[in-house]
Symmetry: C2
């Protein structure tokens, strides 16, 4: 293992301090916590928070800022944040109108966020949440029942962040989230596994010429291994499965091509070009396209493709609204 780190026990602490040093104009760290909160003044809106294990940078802290997340709670690497940490994020984000939590569907995350909700209710803060389960690769997985929550989660951050900024109530945001989440589907593919620093070796082994479809963002098993032929074939597999998953929907999509950490933009853009060609062949259109490393898996090589059905006008409006975060751009 060759990594630019110091002590494997201090990774999250040092990373968050580096992150805040780089983004002090946008965010701050709440003392004695692993919570990153935005610097903006409270204006009596609903707070939107998210979080989970670290190792997915820039998720989630990179999406904290005006127009997106109020705060992010950062667990240890690939480990759910504890309820007290989540509670600190809730308390920092409450502006008197309640706090909405965006939770990726992992059993540990769901349990700890739900406990934090209970703790918050004891202090009089209204909390509601949505569980994101956009990964259609496999039905159940290593760390969860049901589908995993992966890269599509950042589209939820963006759209709910917009709704909160527009002054929507907690109830309205819950309704929006419940409609939105089933409209987001993702599939990932891995070329090389991530190495968790404290483990010191890749989470799984792939032969030099093979890829694995459906791998999760913590290296959870996918649904098929095969030889890597080319970008076009890979794009065909992912695009076709995702389009099929939406049945007879023929409207416009938003697209997210997400690099897993070690895959260069060169490859992500070539893949994006193939997705474009395939959609055009299917007479489908994309009205919003985003490409880059957003929901990574440390140094995994690979990428994921997310499609969001743009069947409500607010989705596109929200996706294209300006924000002040370090990672949305």
């Amino acid at each position: 293992m060759k990594k630019i780190i110091n002590d494997t026990q201090q990774i999250v602490d040092e990373m968050l301090n580096g992150f805040v040093f780089a983004n002090a104009h946008l965010v701050h760290r709440i003392s004695d916590t692993a919570v990153i909160a935005r610097n903006t003044a409270k204006t009596g809106k609903v707070g939107i928070i998210s979080g989970g294990g670290s190792g997915h940078e820039p998720t989630h802290a990179g999406f904290v800022g005006d127009g997106m997340l109020s705060a992010a709670v950062c667990g240890e690497v690939f480990t759910s944040p504890t309820p007290d940490q989540i509670l600190a994020a809730i308390e920092a984000s409450d502006e008197g109108q309640g706090v909405f939590m965006v939770i990726k569907n992992y059993s540990g995350d769901v349990m700890n966020f739900e406990i934090a909700k209970e703790l918050a209710s004891e202090t009089g803060i209204q909390v509601d949440y949505v569980i994101v389960d956009d990964d259609i690769s496999v039905k159940n997985s290593t760390y969860t029942q049901g589908r995993r929550g992966v890269a599509g989660t950042i589209l939820v951050h963006k759209i709910l962040g917009y709704a909160a900024k527009q002054g929507k109530t907690l109830t309205e945001i819950k309704q929006l989230a419940d409609t939105l989440v089933p409209s987001i589907h993702t599939i990932g593919v891995a070329l090389h596994a991530a190495t968790v620093p404290a483990v010191g070796q890749p989470g799984f082994e792939l032969p030099d010429d093979e890829i694995e479809f459906g791998v999760g963002i913590h290296g959870e098993p996918g649904y098929r291994r095969e030889k890597l032929t080319n970008s076009r074939a890979l794009a065909d597999e992912l695009t076709s499965k995702l389009v099929d998953s939406f049945g007879d929907y023929t409207g416009a999509y938003a697209i997210l091509v997400n690099g897993m950490g070690a895959t260069p933009l060169m490859e992500q853009f070539i893949f994006t070009n193939d997705v474009h060609t395939l959609l055009t062949e299917k007479q489908l259109t994309a009205e919003f396209v985003k490409v880059g490393n957003f929901m990574t898996s440390i140094d995994m090589a690979g990428l994921s493709l997310t499609l969001l059905k743009l069947d409500k006008p607010i989705y596109l409006t929200a996706l294209t609204a300006p924000v002040s975060t370090s990672a949305w751009g």
Copy 2:
């Protein structure tokens, strides 16, 4: 070699098409060229262009947009763009006040950009340029005489893009550039070499526990190999060398921590935290900090540190001014 590509001869073409599909609201590709130009209306300002070999994404096309580059010309992977392509970028960027070229110091780039300048002068377009040579690692290198131009180049794009938008003349921009470039120093370090797709294997070999200081963004040799100890020691080597290179300057710096392509943000932020600690120990301050993958070397693992002396107020004003590009954020 396991890469998400199709034909190694079509990499740049497919990548640019994918890039434009993802960023059609900001940029377009000039027909039959590898030039990416911004969509903004011409307003009689000086055009700023840059370019070079591909493989450094998001450089340079990611910095095309309002407030930064007018156009970027994209050569084949690690290969200088040809004069006719550069001329196309000049012609697309001319708004009647001339065009300024930001050239990284590689012999092929310098030669071809100078030829393009001559060709442009024949059509009546005034052109001037600056050669960026921010890499203080080694004096001469594989592809150039003098210092190499590396990640600090994007700070030049940003500051000159701001000056052009403010309506500075070609002469004023040349003067600004000539003062700015010597104020930017960079050193890089590699943990693993990049693989050029058409070559199919890493450009050099590093033992499993070693790093190389001073490696260039095309894998050019650095100045020392040693065992990787930790982030702190690495930050100390780079920070100390860079601070020393500026002699007795004690004012504020702008800092750029640049990932080489395969190094996750987790490591980049830990390194940034160490740089912060070291600067504080030296009683030095940073008034602008940027961290991420900006000037990559395909899938090289490693990073570079850039310091810019903030000894002119316009530098910080320019660095923090809003822009509309896909990669500056």
